[in-house]
């Protein structure tokens, strides 16, 4: 994760499962960074579903860092979409940060990129939240 120099971070939660881990950090600029590591397959999606529901209920500006996600399938997409819908209904927003090429192909093929923006760095994410 690229964070601007001097930006303070607070680790909120760290969840580690067999197939996927979630590292949630609140940044001082009001953005919550959710670093996923592993596979967002059926097991991965089931493992993080409740945590994503909580994030969607409690946070406003959420960055999902996908740089360490090696696999994404439809149930993982469902988790992202449902969380983003909840966030949006609460006045929040979500962006997807730096997916690996195969994962990005899944996102674009399924049309996820038409409803959740994909960005390359945290500055681009912050610019979207500032709009």
């Amino acid at each position: 994760m690229k964070v601007r120099a001097g930006l303070q971070r607070r680790v909120v939660c760290k969840v580690a499962e067999d197939v996927i881990s979630v590292d949630i950090v609140d940044l001082d600029n009001g953005i919550t960074n959710v670093l996923l590591s592993g596979r967002m397959d059926v097991q991965g999606a089931l493992a993080v579903d409740k945590k994503f529901s909580t994030i969607a209920d409690e946070k406003k500006k959420v960055v999902i860092d996908l740089s360490q996600v090696t696999f994404l399938a439809s149930l993982g997409i469902r988790t992202l979409i449902m969380s983003c819908k909840t966030l949006a209904s609460n006045g929040g927003d979500m962006v997807l940060l730096n997916p690996q090429p195969n994962v990005e192909k899944v996102l674009r093929t399924s049309g996820v990129d038409t409803v959740i923006q994909i960005v390359r760095d945290m500055n681009a994410a912050a610019a979207i939240f500032a709009k």
Partner: protein
């Protein structure tokens, strides 16, 4: 001879293995395919495409294959459905066949949806079939074998 080579049948580049329709076995099947792919040095892009199609087909079996399935993963059919997967590797293509004894379901002609509505109108569903259509070179369904047979091909 390694574990994968021991599973070869009929054709030197064909592998076949039986699974059951559970969430745990979706992961087991993915690992089995990954082992074959590594052993055969399949290109990374092909391995990812195989994994996407396998995951979506097996998730469909687990969610919808039972006689009374509602699509909820907490209602996995009991006893689990039988699933058989085979992989064939040729010089120009790799094919994967997935058979199951669930209720008849023509996955090829089932609705596939790409997300093209505003966020508040999006209802995830049909995304898996859309992914198979995009990651596979061809995709066929027939009622045969255990009941449902889906053949997915990938050009090398």
């Amino acid at each position: 001879m390694n574990a994968v080579q021991k599973q070869q049948v009929t054709h030197p580049n064909t592998w076949r293995k039986a699974f059951v329709g559970t969430i745990d076995d979706i992961s087991s099947a993915a690992q089995w395919v990954e082992t074959i792919a590594a052993d055969q040095k399949f290109p990374e892009e092909l391995v990812f495409a195989l994994q996407v199609c396998l995951e979506e087909l097996l998730t469909n079996v687990v969610r919808h294959g039972g006689a009374k399935s509602s699509g909820d993963l907490s209602e996995v059919p009991v006893p689990p459905l039988d699933v058989e997967i085979s992989i064939s590797a040729g010089a120009q293509r790799v094919s994967m066949t997935v058979e199951d004894n669930g209720k008849p379901f023509d996955v090829v002609n089932a609705p596939a949806h790409r997300i093209d509505q505003p966020l508040d109108e999006v209802q995830p569903g049909g995304l898996g079939i859309q992914l198979i259509r995009n990651f596979a070179s061809s995709f066929a369904y027939e009622q045969a074998g255990l009941g449902n047979r889906v053949i997915v091909e990938f050009l090398l």
